[in-house]
């Protein structure tokens, strides 16, 4: 089985109106090259589910997002994501704003093919008020009401990993998987970009198979995209690009900032993109973040 495809092939599998989950966390291990390919496409009316960073910001800026299911959108060292912020403040964005843990529970429920998971999280907050679709349920075992976090099934998940093979075996060696395994399991189709494409034999060595966190049956397509997470990080291979993120956020302060950013960094091939951000060698030298 050969699951190798191009980024364009991945996007061609998506449809207007789909629910798309995006892996990673804030400015970390986001499938940015796939997101850029999505930005180049005519796709629209998407429901996006993410622990959001610039992936969400850019999709908002480009008007791709009909509804956002999120707990936060942030670049961490730049707390406020400017394009997400602008989209919200314009009143144009439909949102399901929930707790980080509720988002995880919703993905878990979808992965387990159950309709909901009960939790106390969200009770007493405006998460309930602004999401009337989220219901409270009784427990047959106690006298309490519980928030029934509904399953969040995804039509597709977009993920970036350290390395993968053509069978769809994916490895994350970085210190944090984030929730990528749950995104993969919650999705009908999972498309993964990888920094390094390896032979199956790679996973037979030493403890390499330990760092494989979902079965290859959960992976639909694999795209080989070195530095495909840039400007987000892919620890331990490279850190996030502070300079690029600053340029990106600064662009939002200009009247036609997004158009300029788009022209320079999206309206080109990924090969050109990598050249414009300094080249693969420079990206690989980006230091890991220190907190």
């Amino acid at each position: 089985m050969n699951k190798l495809v191009g980024a364009g092939d991945v996007i061609a599998q998506l449809r207007d109106g789909m629910t798309i989950g995006i892996g990673g966390w804030g400015p970390r291990r986001k499938p940015m090259a796939l997101v850029r390919e999505l930005l180049r496409s005519p796709l629209r009316d998407l429901t996006v589910v993410a622990y959001g960073g610039a992936d969400v910001g850019m999709l908002c800026a480009a008007g791709k997002v009909r509804k956002l299911i999120f707990a936060f959108v942030s670049l961490d060292f730049i707390p406020l994501e400017p394009y997400f912020r602008a989209a919200r403040q314009s009143g144009a964005l439909e949102v399901m704003e929930i707790d980080e843990g509720l988002l995880l529970l919703g993905l878990k429920a979808a992965a387990m093919r159950i309709p909901f998971i009960p939790t106390r999280t969200g009770l007493g907050t405006d998460v309930i008020k602004h999401n009337p679709d989220i219901r409270l349920v009784d427990s047959p075992y106690d006298e309490r009401q519980w928030l029934a976090m509904p399953a969040l099934p995804l039509d597709a998940a977009l993920l970036h990993v350290d390395r993968a093979d053509a069978r769809g075996v994916c490895q994350v060696k970085g210190p944090d998987l984030y929730m990528d395994d749950v995104f993969a399991r919650a999705a009908s189709r999972t498309y993964v970009s990888c920094d390094e494409l390896v032979e199956p034999q790679f996973f037979e060595q030493d403890e390499e198979a330990r760092y494989v966190f979902w079965e290859r049956a959960e992976t639909t397509g694999v795209v080989h995209l070195p530095c495909g997470a840039h400007p987000s990080s892919c620890a331990p291979l490279y850190g996030f690009d502070v300079k690029h993120f600053r340029e990106y956020t600064a662009s939002a302060k200009e009247a036609d900032g997004w158009a300029k950013y788009y022209e320079r960094y999206i309206a080109c091939s990924e090969v050109e993109y990598l050249q414009r951000v300094g080249g693969e060698a420079a990206v690989k030298k980006l230091p890991l973040p220190v907190f």
Partner: protein
């Protein structure tokens, strides 16, 4: 009082939040909370668990900023997914910085404005506030004590639950909520007043009771005696110098 002296006093007062917690995960988001948690672990509660703010639990607090030769003392893997195992289990005490807080202790970092569909100011989103606030102990640090933060009504988006009986779901009690200290640039407070009213615990050097009340959009409970926030000890200052080798805490109130 210099900014540095003030922030040091606040950090030391904030570190007290974890004194009697036993073995819980101490999470401090932002410079002051993180230094406070770090200081607590090195002084009043060595059993605390802490992370490197990324994916590892560490045996000793990691200094702020660029680390030079410092090597993290890893204790266990602690990726973000496992943080939720910890949160849902309740063995955590976080200190965070909300943008608004109301008389109930309800807090907001999501958005400002009266129209949720079209915020005046969009901020981060609710992040983990709903889960944190109903699963484990929470304290707060607010660097700009004023009526825009401590609002007269409810916060614009209740991200964090507080002692508000009207919002309790059936079968739950206010005792299921556990807000500890609220520290600001003016004072230290908690919700130990009558009926969980916000009350003064101590005033920072040079701050008056009237100043605090005027900067708070709702009535505070004032106990018979309100001490001054203690000045840091020499030991605490020495530890802070080690934990913040680049002196980042000096900029907490703006340069």
């Amino acid at each position: 009082m210099t900014d540095t002296a003030l922030v040091d006093a606040i950090i030391c007062a904030a570190s007290e939040a974890w004194r009697n917690d036993g073995e819980v995960l101490a999470t401090g988001i932002g410079i002051v909370p993180r230094l406070a948690a770090s200081l607590a672990k090195l002084t009043c509660n060595p059993d605390l668990m802490m992370t490197d703010s990324e994916a590892w639990m560490v045996a000793e607090p990691v200094p702020l900023g660029p680390r030079g030769d410092y090597v993290m003392r890893r204790e266990s893997h602690m990726g973000f997914a496992r943080i939720f195992d910890n949160v849902w289990g309740g063995k955590r005490h976080a200190m965070v910085g909300p943008t608004q807080m109301d008389r109930y202790g309800q807090a907001n970092i999501s958005m400002i404005g009266t129209d949720y569909r079209k915020p005046k100011v969009q901020m981060l989103g609710v992040r983990g506030f709903p889960g944190n606030s109903f699963n484990h102990a929470n304290s707060f640090f607010i660097p700009n004590h004023g009526t825009k933060v401590f609002v007269a009504g409810e916060v614009d988006m209740v991200a964090s639950v507080g002692y508000n009986p009207a919002r309790l779901a059936r079968g739950w009690r206010l005792d299921d909520i556990d807000i500890r200290l609220v520290l600001t640039n003016l004072c230290v407070m908690d919700f130990g007043g009558p009926d969980h009213q916000l009350q003064l615990r101590s005033l920072h050097a040079g701050v008056t009771l009237e100043q605090v009340q005027q900067a708070t959009g709702f009535p505070l409970h004032v106990p018979a005696s309100v001490p001054s926030t203690p000045a840091p000890t020499a030991e605490q200052l020495a530890l802070l110098a080690r934990l913040d080798p680049h002196g980042l805490r000096a900029g907490v109130f703006g340069a």
